[in-house]
Symmetry: C2
Subunit: 382 residues, 2 copies
């Protein structure tokens, strides 16, 4: 079948790539950050607020939506886009990542047997079931059902996961029936370069519209993540989008972009936002800190988001987060998602201008400066 | 001092009144519903969403803001309007209503000694302190510090509360210093008509820009509330706004309007909204009910709010509320606040058209119909 999405490379700078993913629901400039709408809502934001901060493609979680309201309900209601009123491109994961973090798993070649967290009902998640659920949900991009080993895991366990991932990918391809969804394969291999290479070879054997690097964001840390991405990204075809799953922090994100990753997703901006951790180009900080009690500035004086331009002060937002007011979660999530989009846009512009390496080190110099608070205050002349 | 607000009666229909309250921050058509921004935020809504649903004047709670972030912080940040970015008129209560519901109170003529819920620190709330806090907060309308007896309470206890309410009102008037805030007196008297009359006489002895009926919404129920309002409202001057505190449900609200009340506040629209209880002119219902699982309609097909016009289905909102997603609280709160504004606007229009009694019974016939769900489904031809 003809792929419902395609990738156009616009410009390379080293290995870093600026491009576009064309979808049936519009074009997505890459590299792109995808906010996570776990249960068909990016926590704390309306779809209009999401569009307003510059989101172009949104992720939702198969595991959570299978649990509630159920994929049959979503299908009956017209699919995920209609259900959550997001007209742009969407991506669903396979459900595997969440399932592999559950206790009392039984993994066989057939699939993964587990008990749903809150309901206790037993489910056997298979490649076929994951495809069926994702077809019911109806996202534009769907992910293959893979085995994601924990970290750390033995070479043997990772090799077994590789074998199943390859086996299951074949079954995913067989099982799917919709031609309007793009299926991405996922490369596993843990922290072992030769197993990454073997998995990449197995997965790219299939002509798919995109490929992902999975098995990361499982506790391996920045250094190992860096070497995995550095080693694995070049093994993926240049004419397809490359998606690094579940990453992450700004420092991780830029390393991934450097090595040619095009798509990333993470709950960090919203999860951190709800507890008052604020991302800025001058570093991240906790707005709940005592020293913001009487702070009249917006979260980030250089940000163009609603929260920062409307006049909400750090003092007010500190109060809202401290008292667990909903509006605090909304304002901080909105700002943080906007920060990630600004970061990706800035990275893209740097690639197009052939200055990604300089941008990367300039960003880190600003972002990781240890004296952020003082510098910031000084800069404002207070 | 000249009152910073004034009331203009536009039209009477029986005792029901349509008018305007002129404030330094704009004109408020009455009768008016005031949403409650307990901690300087109407829960779940941005100030722009609040304005968009038609709110004209917002209440905030002195007790909660004294606790956190503290009135000194609010003052330092430019006052409550600037702090929460609400440019329209605001009203703060005296702190008394919350305090009287706390355990281990010691009430004397001096004031009320209590321990702050979460911090445990001892506070002696006096008329003078209430005025000082409300001046720091800076609302347009501030409330006298009164003694609100519980329900039920003995005639003797209510008489004592009356005496203190009168004593404290004199001290509030003495203590205040700002000329740009309108101080309202509060009538107590419990469920005893002669004590209501005595309190009304005591309070209206002072020439104040507005008067409130307090000591309600303490568990007395619709019948007693009705007789209190029927008896007390006519004792208040016709050329001043009358404010019934903490009311309430649509059926209570309309009785109050019928008897000449101009202002009401209540947390019901937002509190009920967060748990998925939805107000419509055809009655209230719980969107979490099983029968909305596959319901494609908006919360209220006749509503003009964002939630109802943007395309969010009951099915989706049911899912959001069931999974405690923030967006569910926002969407339902927004709808419910809009419902209350529509109800008050419709009541006002009926008064102006000399058909309030007819409107009142038409509304109740629709709102209290026991077969709402079936009727509703039928009406939609499903």
């Amino acid at each position: 079948m003809a792929a419902p999405i395609s990738y156009q490379l616009e410009h390379s700078d080293g290995r870093a790539r600026a491009g576009h993913i064309q979808t049936l629901r519009g074009s997505v400039p890459t590299p792109v950050f995808m906010p996570v709408g776990t249960r068909a809502t990016v926590k704390g934001m309306t779809p209009d607020q999401l569009a307003a901060v510059g989101s172009t493609i949104v992720l939702a979680n198969t595991y959570h939506l299978n649990l509630t309201p159920g994929e049959k309900t979503v299908r009956k209601m017209g699919g995920l886009h209609r259900f959550m009123l997001w007209d742009g491109p969407m991506l669903t994961d396979s459900g595997g990542f969440q399932v592999f973090s559950l206790p009392k798993l039984a993994i066989t070649d057939k699939g993964v047997q587990f008990s749903h967290e809150s309901q206790g009902r037993k489910v056997l998640l298979t490649p076929e079931l994951s495809m069926a659920i994702q077809e019911d949900l109806g996202a534009d991009i769907i992910m293959a059902f893979d085995e994601c080993p924990p970290y750390p895991a033995s070479r043997e366990d990772v090799a077994t996961a590789n074998r199943r991932t390859a086996l299951w990918l074949g079954r995913c391809i067989e099982a799917r029936t919709r031609e309007d969804q793009a299926l991405f394969g996922i490369v596993q291999g843990g922290v072992f370069p030769e197993l990454r290479a073997r998995s990449a070879a197995q997965v790219t054997e299939h002509d798919l519209p995109g490929y992902a690097i999975g098995g990361v964001s499982v506790g391996e840390g920045h250094e190992l993540l860096t070497s995995i991405v550095e080693h694995t990204a070049p093994l993926l075809p240049e004419d397809r989008p490359r998606y690094l799953m579940g990453v992450g922090l700004p420092e991780d994100v830029l390393v991934a972009i450097k090595h040619g990753v095009d798509m990333m997703d993470c709950v960090i901006p919203t999860r951190y936002g709800r507890s008052g951790t604020i991302f800025t180009f001058a570093g991240k900080y906790r707005v709940t800190d005592q020293n913001y009690r009487h702070d009249r500035f917006p979260l980030d004086t250089r940000c163009d988001c609603y929260t920062c331009t409307r006049g909400f002060t750090r003092s007010y937002i500190r109060h809202l987060i401290s008292t667990k007011e909903i509006l605090g979660s909304t304002l901080c999530s909105l700002h943080n998602v906007r920060f990630f989009h600004r970061l990706f846009t800035a990275a893209r512009e740097a690639i197009v201008a052939d200055r990604f390496a300089a941008f990367h080190s300039e960003f880190l110099a600003g972002y990781l400066q240890p004296t952020r608070k003082k510098t910031h205050k000084k800069r404002k002349g207070r």
